[in-house]
């Protein structure tokens, strides 16, 4: 298996000194090249889970293994490098660097991974997502759909094993939503990357062969659901 989470717990401190427990996931796994959609209520911890998988946040306990490497045991600097090389991240708000062109946004991701940006690959990826004519345009000059396509090309830049997509169509107009999802799935397939996509959209979720509800993965979520019922 490509990704394995075991007994992952995460909580945040509250102003009164107590802690708010967000995640308590006994087990979650993903195969190489697999495409999984993760759904859940707002505030249920989906983004926090993606942050933990990518190493941006550390869990309070448990292990997160990607391709056999437990990223919770890596130093912060090693974790940064590991993330840059093996994980691509597509954000809900695109998170492109506004001062850089579309091409540079892809190149900068390569630079942070190993210091060797491949200009040809960056161009090829942008052409693949239909932005061959927009290479030197900065984000403010691109439509939201185009910005998300740049973000997709950037996520694929370092040939990652895993793409994490956090509600990638939430800020995209309806006409572009399906285009983005199709591009995401196709390019991940072409690059051999697994895809874990978070969405609120049932239409998007239905297109994936495997749908996971965070409430089902999360012990805390189950309790909450049971209490609600």
């Amino acid at each position: 298996m490509l990704l394995v989470l075991e007994e992952v717990k995460k909580s945040f401190p509250l102003p009164d000194g107590s802690r708010l427990e967000i995640l308590d996931i006994p087990f979650f796994a993903l195969d190489a090249g697999e495409q999984v959609v993760l759904v859940g209520e707002s505030g249920s911890g989906k983004t926090t889970l993606l942050h933990i998988i990518s190493g941006i946040s550390r869990p309070d306990s448990g292990s997160v293994r990607l391709d056999g490497w437990d990223i919770t045991l890596l130093s912060e600097a090693d974790c940064d490098r590991f993330r840059a090389k093996r994980i691509g991240y597509v954000f809900q708000t695109f998170n492109l660097l506004p001062g850089f062109t579309a091409l540079e946004n892809v190149l900068i991701s390569m630079y942070f991974a190993d210091g060797r940006p491949e200009r040809a690959r960056a161009r090829q990826l942008l052409e693949r997502v239909g932005l061959g004519h927009r290479l030197n345009h900065k984000p403010p000059m691109l439509s939201v759909g185009e910005q998300q396509r740049v973000a997709l090309a950037r996520a694929l830049a370092n040939r990652p094993q895993l793409i994490l997509a956090d509600e990638p169509t939430a800020n995209v107009d309806v006409g572009n939503q399906q285009i983005i999802i199709d591009l995401l799935r196709e390019t991940c397939r072409e690059e051999g990357a697994a895809l874990l996509l978070v969405t609120h959209s049932p239409e998007v979720a239905r297109q994936f062969p495997r749908i996971e509800r965070l409430e089902h993965l999360n012990r805390l979520g189950k309790r909450e659901v049971q209490q609600t019922v």
């Binding site: 941006i56 912060e76 090389k85 001062g99 900068i108 630079y111 942070f112």
Partner: protein, 482 residues
């Protein structure tokens, strides 16, 4: 793509704030550059003022005053020395130690520009700067036998709009501008090319004509001359009487020696028919020119000496000591006095200016901190994106420091350009008021210190925002709206 480019793009993104910050650094650097350039040029001008001769012999008293008067034509002469002492250098016991001896007499001016009485050898046997020979932009050097000829320095001629053939009436000691004290007219026969030395700002009179002016036939010293001012006025109307009176009171034992070289020889050999210039001058000094002037009626402010180090090094080296041991005069090495003057006074002023300029740069450096620090809140999100893409804490810290360094270096470059442009723009004014020729292209080696200095400053002032970048909470900043 590299860290420099990433930092540069961040600067471009905040172009207005970046420009303002760079300009504030640039202003400080421009000030430093201007101070360095002007200091260097002034220092050079000061020190090269006395090049061409290595010793000044003048009356005993302040060595500094002697140098200021003789080299820079500033202040008043210390006192006068007898002409007979000059003869010691051209035909007496000091001859073996001397290659060139030029007598000069200062203390007169013409419309604010100093008049220096000397001999033609001043421009024929002396050199300036690195052995450069004096050249005439217009006309020629004055002839020894044409007593009332004069040569103007480049700046003096330009400022006073002097032309060859024009007559000038230098003003005597004190009471500048007073008609009653004006000397006989001298005719400008040549205008020197610019030399970049105080010579540019002076007018040079034929020493023989100078001695023959009525105002110099009286007292042996400046003080005595002043005391006898009333006598001058009386005699001004009765030239013949004045001459005999002055000779009988101040110069009781005229000399008939006509065999001297240099000034004295020229004077004795002078034929009034050969002057070839205005008769008015002759008219004014008619009674003086009829006979040879005795040594006692001539006094000098100083003698410029070029020692004969090559042929007689021991005596040449001993000359200053011998002169100083005697009661008549002092011998001063101008380079040493100028160095002391510059290091002691001008150097301190320059240091104060430099310290002020450095403070301006430091304040501008703090401006860099403020500029980057203020942008940090909006940049937290951007930094978080870079971290999410794999940039380490050290990398984002380096980007901020490089941004600070680029701003400082960019501002520094701007400052160097502004500083040199400022010097270039001010150079005509500086030259006009001081005679010092400054060029905007005078780059100083000391300016190279600015590069490591600015990098160090930028590193210090960029540290605080860099640490902020280092401490960015990625997860929190990513969730926060951009």
């Amino acid at each position: 793509m590299n860290l420099w480019k990433i930092a540069w793009r961040s600067i471009q993104q905040r172009s207005v704030a970046s420009w303002l910050t760079a300009i504030s650094v640039g202003l400080g650097v421009a000030l430093i550059v201007a101070v360095l350039v002007v200091h260097r040029v002034v220092d050079h001008s000061f020190r090269r003022g006395a090049q061409g001769y290595d010793l000044i012999v003048g009356a005993k008293g302040s060595a500094l005053q002697l140098v200021l008067d003789t080299v820079f034509y500033l202040g008043q002469p210390v006192d006068l020395i007898p002409f007979s002492y000059y003869r010691e250098f051209v035909e007496g016991r000091f001859v073996p130690a001397v290659r060139v001896a030029i007598p000069i007499c200062t203390g007169h001016d013409y419309k604010g520009f100093r008049c220096v009485a000397t001999v033609p050898d001043m421009f024929e046997r002396l050199t300036y700067l690195d052995n450069r020979e004096f050249r005439f932009q217009e006309g020629r050097n004055f002839y020894p036998e044409n007593y009332f000829e004069a040569v103007a320095g480049y700046m003096a001629a330009r400022k006073l709009k002097l032309e060859v053939g024009q007559e000038i009436r230098p003003t005597g000691y004190g009471e500048a501008g007073s008609k009653a004290r004006e000397d006989e007219p001298f005719t400008i026969v040549g205008i020197l090319e610019p030399t970049g030395t105080p010579i540019d700002r002076a007018i040079f009179l034929n020493l023989e004509g100078f001695f023959r002016c009525k105002s110099h036939q009286h007292g042996p010293s400046y003080e005595e001359t002043l005391l006898k001012e009333s006598e001058f006025r009386v005699t001004d109307t009765a030239l013949g009487e004045q001459s005999s009176k002055s000779e009988s009171t101040a110069e009781p034992s005229p000399s008939e020696d006509r065999s001297t070289n240099g000034a004295g020889k020229d004077l004795s050999a002078r034929d009034p028919q050969d002057t070839g210039h205005g008769t008015e001058a002759d008219h004014h000094c008619e009674h003086h020119e009829e006979g040879a002037l005795e040594d006692e009626s001539r006094r000098l402010s100083a003698i410029l000496i070029v020692s004969d180090i090559e042929n007689n090094p021991q005596l040449a080296m001993a000359l200053p000591r011998i002169v100083n041991e005697e009661p008549v005069a002092q011998a001063v090495a101008p380079a040493k006095v100028i160095a002391e003057l510059f290091d002691g006074i001008v150097g301190n002023v320059q240091r104060v200016l430099l310290i002020l300029a450095v403070l301006v740069v430091i304040v501008a450096g703090i401006g860099i901190t403020v500029s980057i620090y203020n942008s940090m809140s909006e940049r937290q999100h951007e930094i978080a994106i870079m971290r999410a893409l794999g940039a380490s804490r050290g990398t984002v810290m380096a980007i901020i420091l490089l941004e600070s360094i680029l701003l400082a270096l960019g501002g520094g470059l701007l400052g160097v350009l502004m500083g040199h442009s400022l010097v270039g723009l001010l150079s005509p004014t500086i030259a006009e008021h001081t005679g010092v020729i400054v060029s905007g292209l005078d780059f100083q080696l000391a300016e190279l210190i600015l590069i490591p200095g600015l990098i160090a400053l930028a590193t210090v002032v960029g540290y605080l925002p860099a640490v902020m970048a280092y401490r960015t909470d990625v997860a929190k900043a990513l969730i926060a709206a951009p």
